[in-house]
Amino acid sequence: MSGHRLLSSRLKLWTSGRSGWMSRLHEGLSGCGRASFSSSNPKICVVGSGPAGFYTAQHLLKARQDVEVDIYERLPVPFGLVRFGVAPDHPEVKNVINTFTQTASHARCNFYGNVNVGKDVSIDELRRAYHAIVLSYGAEGNRSMGVPGENLPGVYSAKDFVGWYNGLPSCRELTPDLSCDTAVILGQGNVALDVARILLAPTKMLKSTDITQPALDALAQSRVRRVLIVGRRGPLQIACTIKELREMVNLPDCRPEMVAADFEGVSEALKDVPRPRKRLTELMLKTALETPGEKEQERRSKASRSWGFRFFRSPVEVLASGGRAAGIRLAVNRLEGSGDGAQAVLTGEVEDVPCGLVISSIGYRSLPIDESVPFDSRRAVIPNSMGRVQQAAGLYCSGWVKTGPTGVIATTMNNSFDTARSLLEDMDSGALDVSSTRPGSQSISALLAERGVKAVTFSGWEKIDDVETRRGEVSGKPREKLLTVQEMLQVARS
């Protein structure tokens, strides 16, 4: 029984059921075909085509039979972090693309890729063309460590590293040096664990995923055998979730390398914590402290690679040798307080860890898009209440730019539905005036044409998708991604 076959037959089943409301809407509109540009329907534009953009659009289209939604995307390809963030060995998570594709194929929805809002077209221009704008452009920046040496060769942000193995055009030339034995990852969230897993996974585990070929080749040559995942606080404060931890525990050819002392008092503190944290911590305790069974012992002794958490440590300085990273100096912390609110306090002690690769994974960060949009630079979000941008009628936001960069796709799904609900409420109450006719994409297309910007439509993406899928077939991968914007544009326009 092949898992793949099961999955694909399952998908068909799913699509036929899920498309119910969509096809009904299609039927309702089939008389007029594609929504007409000159219609007096409410016109909404969504900036960014990741999960937040698509889930907001989905909810708007479903709730009202008259709204038209245009989705603008900077890259020629849609889906944001589903394509460029989700780890290649988590294909199940990417199933949401099927639902997004249905949304994009909706008669009242249009996709315009290769349009950089804020540069090719301003927010004010969009405001004149549409009744409302939803900003869902995510968090493309990253928090920096702010320590000496963080710009040395051999130091990367997890955002760029993930972008590199996932084929983000701007990270194509990262080509990280993987010739060292030990890598240190700062941060213990799920991105950190994704990176650790990709660094340590046997190549045969990755070669049937949509990881880029250059990344796969580099990882096959990698000499990294040991990955340490460093956190400021203790096991009870770790940010990753249990699925990702379990994947590390079960990673073939890889053994855990923990520090037993880090877990002192942890099992006693477990009594009163909620079930998710409890199960996560118990799995860590089991991995770190329990004597494994015979089979697991044998597996561990044969493993050629290792991984481990290092708790109560903060980066102080990346140490250099010969002009590149050769180690990291960590401050030793102790905890003040307990539970989620516990604070890491410096003890004054430091320790040096030799390593040739340092990856900082301490969080993504949203950036302001246009000076006309309010931005809280301290929290790195657009100030909003329930998705309504403060002091900016007609502007809404959803996803990470609304909440900050936390949570999984389903979290974003809910916060995007919430934003859509706010917008719909405002339409119903009259707070959002949709009585006047707006030109929508008609006027924006004219502006873009004047500026020499050629948008990529969803059918353009489908051509890219088709080429990628066919290229993937040759090597037994679900797809072989195109790696440059130029190549994407060429295929989309072919």
Partner: protein, 171 residues
Amino acid sequence: FVFSQAVHSALRSFRFFSGCTFIKTPTHVEAGKVFPLCLFRLSLKSILNPHRAEKVTVHFVNRDGEKITVKGSPGDSLLDVVINEDLDFDGFGACEGTLACSTCHLIFDEETYKKLGPVTDEEMDMLDLAYSLTDTSRLGCQVCLSKSLEGIVARVPETISDIRQSKDGSS
């Protein structure tokens, strides 16, 4: 015809000997990926005889507290039922039944919950990320219908968000 009958009785005796296998081991783990075993059964059964199995009645209680009564085939997962019946639970089943999210979270009463059989670690891992998790929560994609579940009530929690604590927001 004879062949199909033979396969059918073999299938039945398999089920008999294994004592409702699909309930006790609702998942099939292969190469690290988990698929509900009932999918396999479903396809095999539907090839053999789509009308044979008697339908099972399921009552869903949606987020507005409204009761929706539908029928599903034995071997179908509750997610299958939601899809086949085109039930409109916003965002339900985002990962399409592949145990990669918790959006098909359903809540049962204690008595029903016990009848649903043991839960795998992988399902528990995903449930841990579900909003308004209870001791009698399950993922709809991992609960397979059987005649013994006739008339069960499955409540859709008020919101289906994951509450993954991740500070850096990966998948």
